[in-house]
Amino acid sequence: MTDQTNLPPDAPDAPGASNAPDPLAEVAAAMRRQMAPDPAVVADLYAKLDAEPAPPRDVPVRLVAAAPVAPPTAPAAKPAAAPRPASAGRSRRRFPALAGVGTAVLAVALAVVPLVQGRSEAGTTTAAGGGEAVGSVTAPPVADEPAGPATAPPTTSQTTPTEGDYGPVYDALQAAVANQAAYYYGGATTGVTAENAILDTAEVAKSSVDTGRGSAPAAYSETNVQVEGIDEADIVKTDGSTIFYGHGRTVTLLTADGAGTSVVSRIDVTQAPGWEGTPGGVADLMLAGTTLVVFAHDYSPDFDSPYLDWTYASTSVEYRATQTRVLLYDVTDPANPTFREALGQSGSYSTARLMDGVLYTVTTYSIDDPATADPDDPVTYVPLVTDVAAGPAADAGTPADTEPAADAPVAQASLLPATDIAVFPSLMTTTYAVATAIDVATGARLGEEAVLGGADTVYMSADNLYLGGFTWSADPPVPDATWAATGLADGVTLSSATTLARIALDGGALTAAATTMLPGAILNQFSLDEYDGYLRLALTISGWSDDVGWSQKASLLVLGLDLQPVGSIADLAVDEGIQSVRFSGSVVHIVTYRQTDPLFAIDLSDPTAPTVLGELKIPGFSTYLHPWGDGWLVGLGQNTTDEGVSDGLKLSLFNVADPVNIAETAKLVLPWYDVPALYDHRAVWADVDRGLVGFAATDWTTGSGQELYLVYRVGTTIEQAARLELAASTSYTSDSYSTRGVRVGESLYVVAPSQVTVYALDGFTPEAAVAL
């Protein structure tokens, strides 16, 4: 008989195998049931299991211990800072839904368990900056190898071998790749335990940012920021005498001098030293005293892209923003800006904040093709920070020499120490969020932290940086307590989820302190607010359940600083999505929308029991809410007819002094302009003292795309104060996204790509027009 396989004739399943009973099988069957452990062994195991602390899946795992080995401390030594819900980490076990009993569910689920403290010898709690390795120090220019691949990890005062141990980072990355495949195609996923976790258990000081403006009237307007005292990067900055405008590859400096306004200098960012690839345009600016910070992308061609088609005679090569440059210029003399230094970090620019002279920059760095990650070469998968100091007599305004001088500035790239990389324990993404802190005055790096998790939303409070990453996933590991707090039923399949990380600022040291997975999506940074030791956030949760089909709802969550829920309103608005949120201390106003625009006023004075105080149902919805003095809110958004059809934009004034009786006291419907301010709060110029609101718009109603700057007076009525027509755009995109209105003194400066136009605030008569 032909042997169709290569199997020996006595192999199981081999053709021709006899049907004789297998004596081995008989004996084995008899042995099988005896292969069981002693009951005493099993009982001992159970005892050990009971003694285990709760598995904290939502702790950011520092893969490499930062501090030297310390003796393990008893788990019960420090009680939890906030109560931890039971079985916080079991994502696949659902509590049955207890509809409408948000706080009662939490009262049942909450149990105080000892906070995990370094369950193995490797873990210790680090004080801020104690074990944290400071990143590369800006060294004076060294005539070493030119900018290029990273040098060895930075040497600091305490170089420990673990800083350079990237093995766990590589493993985590590969595990994330596998987990992504598992979620999409089915399969087991692996997580990382907290064996090496370092928890930031330091008592977090309450927010100390002054939330009220100084009593003296400001001489000029500043960027419309979310949190007073924390500046946000924007394309236009001013210090009251100079206006800085970043557009394209140029930063233009103008004197703000009313009729005498003029350009005093320009900075061509491509002339800054240290570009490794192709300089991109200016993404944002920040002004810190006499230092101007310019954010721009460093692009490099992606020859490894899987989309490159080498079979054709010509093909397109994608340029990717592999690095973000942070360029520092000394603008003490605006007519002669001087390049100071360039810092950089891997990834594409997300946002930046300035607080107390410390610049916080966030980028997102994706390892798109993890197959290119070489475990022996961390440069291929670990974020870098780069520093370029100025060479002698570097002048931003002069063109670069064609040949680099012997003492030309060189870039020093350093890998982020492995001790500054944390991961979400669920390991679901191959994108790092990279946060760095720089002392602007000296250019010194104070700290950095990379979290293997995205950063679509960035919110910074006085003490913490929160990074929210949007994920699509069939079954995101949302902790049970959060699932219950948002009132989700057992059989719901979520459409989306959000990873959330809290990075403690620690004066710039930056420590990943907590992570969690939230159901649903965060609209923007205004959906989060830290107050009095709690993080409040508003979510739009959508998903599929067998009985209802697809549905969505708006939920309000109050989390402790460990990102575990303490209170919630699970079903704030069913079948509605959140359109705008504004937190003000113990009150939050939320606008949801499906057809009508309920504006909710919610009392948060008891974090464990948020309560809806009042609700206003009107047509349309606001996408941006601005506090307008005591007891008032201005809303900018879309207007709709009674049938729910959008027919234009609107500005509304709400009286919210009595939260139970919210009223819309004034409203103005605007034509259907293209208004970036609807979704970018920095594009809003709000002058509450003068009762004025302004923003740029593009009017497409006539077909030609008229660029406008619109100003409205808000009082007992809302009226248009000015409709300023600007020069037409010379590019194929609308100028309104690159246009800002800035007040200096009694003049309004409308800064647009081709021209800066100056208007007197009184009557909006034009005073000057300066071509750029």
């Binding site: 199981p12 042995m31 049931r33 292969m35 452990p37 062994v41 299991l49 076990r93």
Partner: protein
């Protein structure tokens, strides 16, 4: 000797602080599988006991996100083999037995015993198989896993599994002679 395993209860959600009850259900369902593998892959009962406990403690700590029982079983099998391998390379070094001077005779680690001599012989023979055959033989004969499943769990081609089975059986027959 422990009795036979009861039919394992469905794994239900629990609210115990450490999730220990969840893990207990997994222990009950898989203790025979894990312990049996540990027995044939370690040198003595004490080591097998250690490996058995270590596997479930690791399961409890790592919380592998198993989508279904098949994945859980696969995770437990591969983890048991890994931990047993690790135990073998370290156990003899670390084993410390205090001996009083009068206890001259060597203390021998406890060996797991079966009901009959034949069964003991089979167990010993399987335990002494080269490592590459041992897991396949064990999973096929003592856990009734089909060839395809063994291949998937161990990351082998089906043909490789069949080859190892056949050669393993050959080695066993050489060692044991005819089984009665």
């Amino acid at each position: 000797m422990a009795g036979s395993a009861q039919p394992a209860p469905a794994v239900t959600p629990d609210a115990s602080p450490s999730g220990a009850r969840d893990t207990r259900a997994v222990v009950e369902r898989y203790q025979q599988l894990v312990y049996g593998l540990a027995l044939s892959h370690t040198r003595c009962k004490g080591d097998a006991d250690d490996v058995f406990q270590e596997v479930f403690l690791t399961y409890h700590r790592k919380q592998p996100n198993c989508h279904d029982e098949g994945h859980r079983q696969a995770w437990l099998i591969t983890t048991t083999l890994t931990i047993a391998r690790r135990e073998n390379t370290s156990s003899w070094r670390t084993r410390v037995v205090p001996l009083a001077p009068e206890d001259a005779e060597m203390v021998r680690p406890e060996v797991f015993h079966f009901a009959t001599e034949t069964q003991d012989a089979v167990f010993q023979a399987v335990s002494q198989l080269p490592e590459s055959y041992r897991a396949v033989i064990h999973l096929f004969y003592f856990d009734d896993l089909p060839v395809a499943r063994i291949a998937a769990v161990l990351g082998l081609e089906e043909g490789a599994v069949k080859m190892r089975l056949s050669r393993g059986r050959g080695l066993l027959r050489d060692q044991l002679g005819d089984l009665r």
